[in-house]
Symmetry: C2
Subunit: 339 residues, 2 copies
């Protein structure tokens, strides 16, 4: 495998081209055009804990926009203190992912957005009829759905469309790397530039390519899945329990998908510790060391790790300002079952 | 007791004066002057889940500014899914409360703000040294504390001062009632005006007086404590389990404080269901019915309940716009113990 990767790199003198600045906007699907009404509705739904069974969890609980778009926990915590099986991926720039979730089981943001609401260990709503019934009890939402989608339009599909529309506005680019790619060669430190060369030389960018560092020339709905870990005969695989989760196989039940994972983004990675699908690695330095060993069978030197980390830090973007939404009130009553 | 209350009301022909419009600003303590640096720091701390042991809970989790300043749950849920014993009071206009918590055990917002951080079933930090240690690991906070309080100033006291400074900006007045009190007699509906008279006639305002409807002419640190329930020989007391919690006695261990409670505000009450210290009553109509019975031994008629509810709805204020803070990042690492 190491040979294969090195061959691939050697065969591609233009791998530097595999890295791209982040576009200013993401692809908008034909059947879900962006409108300000949809975006505003999606934003309210995104922050609304009433979308969970006991009013505890909103999308933002685990994908916190005020932080790096996730929760800095190894795995997320859903309703009633239940722990999830995987670490929450960042929602920032998720519009540039062509498939969603660690195992890529959702082919669009629309599909992804409605998943956690009905997941018993995440937001815990037993069925979408209950979600819709609740929203219908909130006059402000009835009005917002009407403005966004027309009369009597509260539905699972439209909830997904609204949240996805909001998420497509969550773009954090304009990082030092992006400025560098746009011609400002001083935007990145010399160390970060060394790191940028190194990730090309050792082969990281074979998978972490493109503007979002998750694969090149991918169409929406088409995933870049890779095996992880590739090299299992090392201490890290055991220490961090990487084999416990079979990845995409869990969803497809196809033997070929065992330990296959969607390639995650590198953008804003300095803000999204801990790392890997199970959030088992606490620091970025260790994550780089581990990744080189288990994917490329390389033992990086400390200075190489530092250089790569400096490069990854240069991928921290500028986050747009967000007004806090006033969530439409539930007048004079509560929607939850009392404890 | 009923007689006493009615006598009190009868003796006060000017009880209408007991109601006041909300001032535009709250009293600022001499030892914690408001500065923009403190307010900004307090705002970040308020929204920061890294203030809890496992990154799950921020002040805003239970006192949600996007809703009515609380969480619409009967009791709040802290770290590891642990349930609290009492319903979260609203943070909106809390600066007009002279004591804090349901039992008034904190004499200032500064004291209150640091309480939940160390509470094992709320934010669960085992001691403040850990809180301070974490904040010191976040370069952005080191800088913010320095700007707000000077060099090396991260301390429990200053955390409380910063959060309190932010909370003093959380004023939601300018309700229909406030407009009415300022001379716009059309700001309240006729029904709400009937309700306003009724709460004076039946005696509610003996306790729910003043601009915040929690007592009149109170000094900061001086509470308005009342017994609840007063009349225990009715179905409500049992149904809603009102005797289980001994209130202020729990804190003082003084027999006279058994079932004594701080008088809660009426402001924005239409947004803060469910009701009472244990969040046992789901709707405002029922809360009014129950309150009349257990405090005044009155059986209100349905139309009286509706009128009072219409009045209480007229106390819903205008909420200021709030920019979402960008929380200072934890670069390349996580602060939490991994699960």
């Amino acid at each position: 495998m190491k040979k294969l990767l090195l061959t691939l790199v050697a065969a591609c003198p233009l791998t530097v081209m595999a890295m791209q600045a982040l576009p200013k906007s993401a692809e908008i699907p034909k059947d879900n055009k962006q409108t300000i009404e949809k975006i505003n509705l999606g934003k309210s739904l995104y922050f609304d804990p009433r979308m969970s069974i006991n009013g505890t969890i909103s999308c933002n609980s685990c994908h916190n926009l005020m932080l790096g778009g996730e929760d800095q926990r190894s795995v997320s915590v859903g309703v009633n203190g239940q722990k999830g099986g995987r670490s929450a991926p960042t929602v920032w720039n998720s519009a540039f992912h062509t498939v969603q979730f660690w195992d890529g089981r959702a082919k669009s943001l629309e599909d992804q957005a409605v998943g956690p609401i009905g997941n018993p260990i995440e937001m815990g709503m037993p069925h979408f009829e209950m979600v819709i019934g609740r929203l219908k009890q909130i006059p402000g939402y009835v009005e917002m759905f009407e403005k966004a989608f027309g009369k009597d339009s509260i539905s699972k599909d439209n909830i997904g469309k609204a949240i996805a529309s909001f998420e497509r506005t969550l773009i954090a680019g304009n990082s030092p790397f992006d400025k560098y790619m746009h011609g400002n060669k001083k935007a990145m430190t010399v160390q970060a530039q060394r790191g940028m060369k190194l990730v090309q030389e050792v082969g990281c960018v074979v998978c972490h390519a493109g503007a979002n560092f998750n694969g090149e020339n991918l169409k929406m709905g088409e995933g870049n899945f890779q095996k992880f870990p590739v090299f299992t005969d090392n201490d890290f695989v055991k220490k961090y329990n990487f084999m416990a989760d079979t990845g995409r196989f869990d969803f497809t039940k196809n033997e070929n998908d065992k330990h296959m994972w969607r390639v995650p983004t590198w953008r804003n990675i300095a803000l999204t510790a801990p790392y890997f699908h199970n959030g088992s690695v606490r620091t970025l330095d260790e994550a780089v060391t581990v990744m080189a060993k288990v994917q490329l069978n390389l033992d990086l030197k400390d200075n190489q790790v530092s250089d790569i980390v400096a490069f990854l830090e240069s991928l921290t973007g500028i986050f747009p300002k967000i007004d806090m939404p006033r969530l439409p009130p539930t007048p004079k009553t509560t929607l939850y079952d009392l404890n």
